[in-house]
Amino acid sequence: MAKVNVTIDNIKVSVEQGNTILEAAMLAGIKIPTLCAWPEINHRPGACRVCVVEVDGQRNLVASCVFPVSEGMVVKTTSERVRKARKLNVELLLSNHPTECNVCVRNGNCDLQVVAEAVGLREVRFTYPDYSTAEYIDDSSPSVVRDARKCIKCYRCVTVCDEIQTASVLSPTFRGDGVRIGPAFNLPLLETNCTNCGQCILACPVGALYEKDDTDKVWAALNDPSKHVVVQEAPAIRAALGEDLGMPVGSLVTGKMIEALRRLGFDKVFDTNFTADLTIIEEGNELLQRVKTGGKLPMITSCSPGWIKFCEHFYPDLLDNLSTCKSPQQMMGALIKTYYAEHSGVDAKDIVSVSIMPCTAKKFECQRDEMADSGFRDVDYVLTTRELSRMIKQAGIDFANLPEGDYDNPLGEYTGAGTIFGATGGVMEAALRTVYAVVTGTNLESLDVTPVRGLEGVKEAAVEVGPLGKVKVAVAHGLSNARQLMDKIRDGSADYAFIEVMCCPGGCVSGGGQPIAPSNEKRINRAAALYKDDGAVQKFRQSHENPSVKRIYEVFLKEPLGHKSHELLHTHYYKRGTDLPHAHDAEFEVNDAKNKATH
């Protein structure tokens, strides 16, 4: 690519043709404030006008995030004209933005606060509209809350929802000063095709999109002496919680996380990684059964509730391809109020089951009608990583200096295979380890199945599995990538036996409940923490070696895909389709793959 020479604030830089002024300025060591731009997903709507600069020969100020450099260009980023314009633009953004910073969920982590500081704003001369919160706040969804009062129309959520996740729920509507970002017909989010993935929350620079906060309910349970409060934590929490509490990105904080949960008052600290291992046993056996009996292939993973709802909306014809296994969260929930209740003698009705998830879709999942196989709500409350972090801060726990705690039995022990569920490709890698061992009686030559690791959108691998021959598998993360594989299945060109899909780009390490804001660098670092847990920390690296898993089959479940498993660990799906507005779960046709496939 040809280089061009530009001068920015008297600093000469040589940059690639086609670069924007913003990128050139970065090379010159100048950080231009931005609000709407998000280069990592190629989102540059030029909408917020915070990044304006003066270019010699241009009559008007230009938005540096979209304006390309050219040979000999001279740019000023701190002229009086630029400073005044930026300040005014931010002031105008704040002119209809509620001044509730102190009580806003994004207090201290808000891009609008950052740019207001960056442009030196100290006064807003305009008065705020008297918003009616009832009209502007949509809290219909158990996962994602929209507060249109705070929206600054950066269109990031629109790009993420439409291009990265292809759910296309959010769109700009109306025009001019009446523009509102929202679902078609201004429907409540609950009645749309929203997958509850929460990637829009990660994208939002302000507090216009956020998780539904359930911390008060959990505090209430913890403070209720009649309740026995049990908690599980997803794999990806231990790789991200630390960074929200002052530790470096990619810190593996398993022990501190467990200790913090104990100090918050949870009676038992179990681990979703245990049911991740259990998932591998159930799902691995389901795969082998489908292969042997000519069942529906490719089989697709079902751990990711955002993915499941996406599939129910957009691929209702392919629900038979989904594994009937519940997600590890819901398996754990069902076991806590049955197996653990029996084991401990605590009455299941007194147990409050809480899960800590990197995921907003899990909040929806735990409320699905059918997720009550224990006879109670299998999981009562789901907290995201951000909410747990909030509770830890509220409790005044000095997280970074905590001693290392250890999980409780019988639902806490896990292997490296369980922990890598949190990174894209992890379920596939874990499944291949166990399926290979079960079929051939020996271990894979290397337990590191590297072709399925990393951030490439769609990954493929082929493994020779003894008598089964070559087993072709594929892995997708992010729903636009999942769509590619689903379309191949639809047109009959997919020759895979097994597919892993994770709803969020990078997998759960960058789920919609994780610390804000996301980046590929963080995805890689958090995944590295999980692979470290797998490769260097855990004693066992294959799910079938987990002693607690062996034990639960001996004393409770009896056999994989057996009667108890069928009852507690497997599920069915709904043909939701895309018609609006959506009905209540119970009104959809059930796709009962569970009864077709396992019994």
Partner: protein, 168 residues
């Protein structure tokens, strides 16, 4: 939300005749898989059905294979499209700068009073719809009211009754 009558949003297709719906589907298939199809499709569908309620937007989205959020975004962006039934006659009051300073707002208020409907609404007998526009490019005639295809320049509230009588 301002300007949208939610009672019509869920309106099923039952209020349209089979013939109308067949025309709608024909329009969709005529434009299907052509880039930039959405706006011409919506124009023609509105021409056939009079307005674009939720049911028709869903039909168009499904037919063209695009997200309904995009359809709704376009429908609400352009003032030409309407989600409420249009009257037999459409009254457009210009509130562009020139018309506004010469009394466009007073004419609008007068019409609101006479017809008993707000901008964006339709009279109960479905004879008149009332809309506002921002500049019709006829500033020399300000203030301007356009009824259907007829432009009425230099309007005054006192002249409205006589003009409306032509359309009753």
């Amino acid at each position: 939300m301002a300007g949208i009558d939610t009672t019509h949003m869920g309106a099923g297709t039952e209020e349209f005749t089979a013939e109308q719906l067949a025309k709608v589907d024909k329009i969709i298939s005529k434009f299907k898989s052509k880039p930039g199809a959405l706006i011409p499709v919506l124009e023609e569908v509105q021409d056939v059905c009079g307005y674009l309620p939720m049911s028709l937007q869903l039909r168009v989205a499904k037919g063209l294979g695009i997200p309904v959020a995009n359809v709704y975004g376009v429908v609400t962006f352009y003032s030409f499209f309407t989600m409420v039934p249009r009257g037999k006659h459409v009254i457009r009051v210009c509130l562009g700068t020139a018309c506004y300073v010469r009394g466009g707002q007073k004419i609008l208020e007068s019409l609101v009073g006479t017809l008993g409907i707000a901008p964006g609404e339709c009279t109960a007998d479905r004879n008149f719809s009332l809309e506002t526009v921002r500049c019709l490019g006829a500033c020399g005639l300000a203030p301007v009211v356009v009824i259907d295809e007829d432009t009425h320049g230099q309007m005054k509230p006192a002249k409205l009754d006589k003009v409306l009588a032509e359309y009753r």
